[in-house]
């Protein structure tokens, strides 16, 4: 029994981990970077502006995060992290490299000022100090000047490249020497997202410094996403799961198994799973929403008049607020202006309570699901749930493929409305 997980983000990886732990043979396929690789370093179940999330994580979620090794323990009520936009926000879980401010409430935090343009430490320190949380807890942020080991690199490199420098132990050691002396040498240090693309780098720095240090949130394409990808790749190679770097083009039910067609870089279509002699009894679609590329928006309505569609061919309708939006009534596609910006974060396939999509043994997880919050922890939870659902389901899928909803409607007896005069 082989399960194919399509998507290498939080949801797909969580599903793959949970399935393999339950003894399934799992293959995972993905193409390029999605929303997880672009995440900020904070993991939440709901949008953080809402009520504080104090519910404990499920044991499965805790275990999954621990296995990856790049996340801090979630604790009972989560932590508080700084954003480079000058805010302090709650985070239910976080990348280990981020500085949790909760233990330092009422104290002083030193903000590292490396003389880097675009990182105006005094202004940021002032913004954080004046935020509601800092005022309530009497926490102060003060910029402290640090002599940079390589001023030109600090001045010119973009965030991601500067973070990559920190993976060089020698460079990191020099940075550590400067940081150790900053301020009074004891207070916690808050720094931009530059402490390595490898999860181990920040631990190395902390061992050297013997004072707390951590990053702010990462912008898109920053260090946090890269560290997640590094942790994922390390776990996958250790666990021996089959990984396909391919773009899945279609997932079709062939009576008793799924036929999956994909392309690699050469663009040639091939049947995924054929080479290993296997075939897939079940598929978990964790292909992402609009950001991840799992749901595509076609402005002109596309060749089939579809405005929103799955990035692969599968018999799943795409919905928004309970309404099917795949086929649009406008000659040139849906009017996104009328739907509003939130439509882009709400659109997706609908699933039942068992995460089973309409087709047999086809499960959905993560941002591809309609109307769920686009948050990392929620994506992980949904990946775990999809795996759990798959393992609960007996491996005797129905023999006949499901009918398209529209076709089924046509075959059903006429509705009462039509019968009445």
């Amino acid at each position: 029994m082989t399960t194919l997980v399509v998507g290498g983000g939080f949801a797909g990886l969580a599903a793959a981990w949970a399935l393999s732990r339950r003894g399934r043979e799992v293959r995972i396929a993905w193409e390029g970077a999605g929303a997880s690789a672009l995440y900020s370093g904070a993991l939440d179940r709901t949008e953080w502006g809402a009520l504080p999330d104090t519910r404990p994580l499920s044991p499965d979620a805790e275990a999954f995060l621990a296995v990856l090794g790049c996340f801090a323990p979630s604790g009972t009520s989560g932590g508080r992290v700084a954003t480079s936009a000058g805010m302090l926000r709650p985070a239910r879980c976080r990348d280990r490299a981020l500085l949790d401010l909760e233990p330092w409430r009422g104290r002083r935090v030193d903000v590292v000022d490396l003389g880097r343009p675009g990182w105006d430490a005094p202004a940021l320190a002032r913004a954080w100090s004046e935020s509601a949380w800092a005022r309530q807890t009497h926490t102060a942020f003060v910029a402290v000047a640090v002599a940079a080991p390589e001023p030109d690199a600090i001045r010119l490199l973009p965030n991601g490249e500067l973070a990559a420098r920190a993976d060089d132990p020698e460079w990191l050691a020099r940075l550590g020497q400067s940081l150790a002396r900053a301020g009074d040498g004891e207070r916690p240090l808050l720094i931009g997202p530059w402490l390595g693309l490898e999860p181990a780098s920040v631990e190395r720095l902390r061992a050297q410094l013997r004072r707390p240090i951590g990053e702010t949130l990462s912008g898109p394409g920053g260090a946090a996403g890269a560290r997640f990808e590094a942790a994922r790749d390390a776990w996958l190679s250790g666990a021996g799961l089959g990984v396909e770097l391919a773009s899945v083009r279609s997932v079709r039910w062939r009576g008793s198994r799924y036929e999956v067609l994909a392309t690699r870089e050469d663009g040639e279509l091939f049947s995924l799973g054929e080479d290993s002699g296997g075939h897939f009894e079940e598929v978990v679609l964790a292909i992402g929403g609009v950001v991840g590329g799992g749901i595509r928006f076609l402005a002109g309505g596309g060749p089939e008049g579809r405005s929103f569609s799955l990035s692969l061919d599968a018999e799943l309708p795409v919905r928004l607020a309970g309404r099917e939006v795949a086929l649009s009534s406008g000659a040139l596609g849906v009017d996104l202006q009328q739907l509003g910006l939130d439509a882009l974060t709400q659109v997706g396939v609908s699933v039942d309570e068992r995460h089973l999509a309409r087709a047999p043994a086809l499960y959905a997880a993560g941002d591809v699901i309609e109307g769920r919050p686009r948050c990392a922890l929620d994506a992980i939870d949904s990946g775990l749930e999809a795996a759990r659902a798959a393992c609960r389901t007996k491996s005797t899928p129905p023999l006949a493929p499901p009918l398209r909803p529209s076709l089924r409607a046509a075959l059903q007896p006429k509705s009462e409305k039509e019968q009445s005069p």
Binding site: L38, A85, G86, L298, G300, L341, T345
Partner: protein, 593 residues
């Protein structure tokens, strides 16, 4: 030059001689001309400089070949004044060569091409006025060679020559010049009443600063209503009927794309036969425009999906690659065209007219109606002539010979960049926007090296420029900075720079960091709203990512704390006492002068 006090007919002193309502191109042009002729001026702008049609147009001071057949005067004045603008602001101008293909499927295509040739022969007579090149007739092969992306069988076409300009920078240049000549300039300040004496003469205006809530009075001998499409509404503030300053409001939209798609602008016919175009403009491509009667909210004009589709469809017929191009935003503005009942919006005259409201019983009150970007200067001159005549002032306009700020000297942008230690592209963009004044911006970098940081990587915009426009060009919000510098208008939609820009603006205007975050969110939300009507497949992903990023970093507008206290309509908190004191002393100075 006459002593201003002596020209007051009744012999009494007023705060200023002229109050100009409106910070668009007409208002700023009049403010500059009046100031140059020795008059004391105060300008009030309800939103921001170039907020309306002046900042939301095709970005050309074209000669208006479209008007040649029925309004040759407009073509003549447009071309003549286009030449003047080139002389006073050479840094702001860039050449836009046009191609007009004639498609084979058009009935009588060959005849049409011959007619076009003859038509442009006529237009060529005006070209020397604006240093334009004469037109050429091109074969189908030549057209294809010049723009390989052109589709469809043509019988050939013509080329002609126009000039591009950044309308916002033009307005800013005029206002900065006026302010340096002593004019008081207030943005985000609405006039609440045009005060009149018992005999009907104007006495000044009452105003309210929308960001601080402060109100006040400026007495004046003359009040100029230069509020474009808002003109009828403004007239009512003086107790006149809206019909006394009637306009026919014509909405026009543009869609802009993330890069320059062509080297030449391409004129095409829309489905209804109207002329629309695709043009390379600064570092992007723009398609435009529509012309429809508009009766909605003038403070909130947004391009609709339907309007965007009309344009994209028209351009795609001739340049199909537009369908795969990435739209990153829209402009929408409302033209204050001269009122006429009957003609289609396209057939309306682009003439301008000064209305002397003496005939409505309000001597001293004038309205400027109609006009276009290319002829703003001559319109301002005519307006100022009328004012001068009323005040008995005999000084002629010199606005066509005195350079605008930064237009006095041409800089080498590459040398500028090398000297300042900034990227050549950043130097070039800076020099474009500020001309010789770019030196003043880079001086800031010499003082503080951090200001050399690229804040907005798409454009690019330096931190020094952001600080400069807050300090010297009345920018008070992220939106204002964006209008002046094009920050946040590139392909990333401001998600990399809005928060930082908000922090700088808040700090410089004495507001709290939280105010800065709110400004950034407001900017991001409003530009996302303007983009939505044009969002295509590639942009949709970017849009969703921007949303996720903004929510991770800044929260949503629902989660950002908003103070419960009294807020101006801008949604900004009150500024610090320090700033108010600075403003007060500036006011005192301008009153004392």
């Amino acid at each position: 030059m006459s002593e201003p006090a002596s020209i007051e007919p009744a012999g009494e002193r007023t705060d200023v001689d002229v109050v100009v309502i409106g910070g668009g191109v007409n208002g700023s042009g009049v403010a500059r001309d009046c100031t140059q002729r020795g008059l004391r001026v105060a300008v009030f702008e309800r939103n921001d400089v170039a907020f309306g049609a002046s900042g939301n147009n095709s970005g050309m001071i074209h000669g208006g070949p479209r008007y040649l057949t029925y309004d040759p005067d407009v073509t003549y004045t447009s071309c003549l004044d286009s030449g003047h603008i080139q002389r006073i602001a050479p840094h702001l101008l860039f050449r836009i060569p046009f191609l007009m293909p004639v498609h084979r499927d058009r009935r009588g295509a060959k005849v049409a091409l011959t007619l076009l040739d003859a038509f442009f022969d006529l237009y060529d007579k005006y070209q020397p006025l604006k240093r334009g090149k004469p037109h050429t007739v091109l074969t189908a092969e030549q057209l294809q060679q010049l723009e390989p992306g052109l589709a469809g069988m043509t019988v050939g076409g013509v080329s002609f020559d126009e000039w591009g300009i950044d309308g916002v920078r033009l307005c800013i240049g005029n206002l900065v010049d006026a302010a340096e000549g002593g004019a008081e300039v207030r943005v985000h300040t609405t006039v609440t009443e045009i005060v009149r004496r018992d005999d009907g003469r104007v006495r000044g205006v009452r105003y309210r600063d929308l960001s601080t809530g402060e109100s006040g009075v400026r007495t004046a001998k003359i009040v100029v209503n230069a509020t474009g499409a808002w003109a009828p509404l403004t007239a009512t503030l003086g107790g006149l009927l809206p019909e006394s300053a009637r306009v026919r409001p014509g909405k026009g939209i543009h869609v802009f794309f993330d890069r320059r798609l062509t080297n030449y602008a391409i004129a095409v016919r829309a489905i209804d036969g109207r002329q629309v175009f695709l043009e390379p403009w600064q570092n992007m491509s723009v398609i435009g425009t529509t012309d429809t009667d508009y009766y909605g909210d003038l403070d909130d004009v947004v391009a609709t999906t339907a309007e965007v589709r009309y344009l994209v469809q028209a351009v795609a017929r001739v340049f199909p690659a537009i369908l795969d191009a990435r739209p990153i935003g829209t402009w929408a503005g409302v033209r204050p065209t001269l009122y006429a009942w009957g003609p289609s919006p396209d057939g309306l005259s682009r003439e301008h007219e000064v209305i002397d409201h003496e005939r409505h019983g309000a001597p001293g009150l004038y309205s400027m109606i109609g006009g276009k970007l290319a002829s703003y200067r001559i319109f301002a001159e005519e307006m100022t002539d009328a004012i001068a005549q009323r005040l008995g002032l005999r000084v002629a306009s010199r606005t066509h010979v005195v350079p605008l700020p930064g237009g006095d000297e041409l800089l080498d942008p590459l040398a500028l960049a090398a000297d300042a230690g900034i990227e050549p592209i950043a130097g070039a963009r800076l020099e474009y926007r500020h001309g010789a004044r770019a030196l003043r911006v880079v001086e800031r970098i010499a003082r503080d090296r951090r200001e050399g940081a690229v804040l907005c990587p798409c454009e690019p915009v330096l931190e020094a420029e952001v600080r400069y426009v807050v300090r010297h060009e009345w920018a008070q919000t992220v939106d204002d900075v964006s209008r002046r510098t094009r920050l946040g208008l590139g392909s990333c939609g401001g998600m990399r720079c809005a928060a930082r820009c908000g922090a700088i603006v808040a700090e410089m205007t004495g507001r709290s960091p939280l105010d800065g975050q709110r400004m950034a969110l407001d900017f991001l939300e409003s530009s996302a709203r303007k983009r939505l009507g044009a969002v295509g497949p590639l942009q949709a992903r970017q849009e969703a990512l921007a949303l996720a990023t903004v929510r991770a970093e800044l929260g949503s507008s629902r989660s950002v704390e908003r103070p419960s206290g009294d807020l101006g309509p801008l949604g900004l908190g009150p500024r610090s006492a320090e700033r108010s004191a600075e403003e007060r002393s500036a006011e005192e100075r301008s009153v004392a002068e």
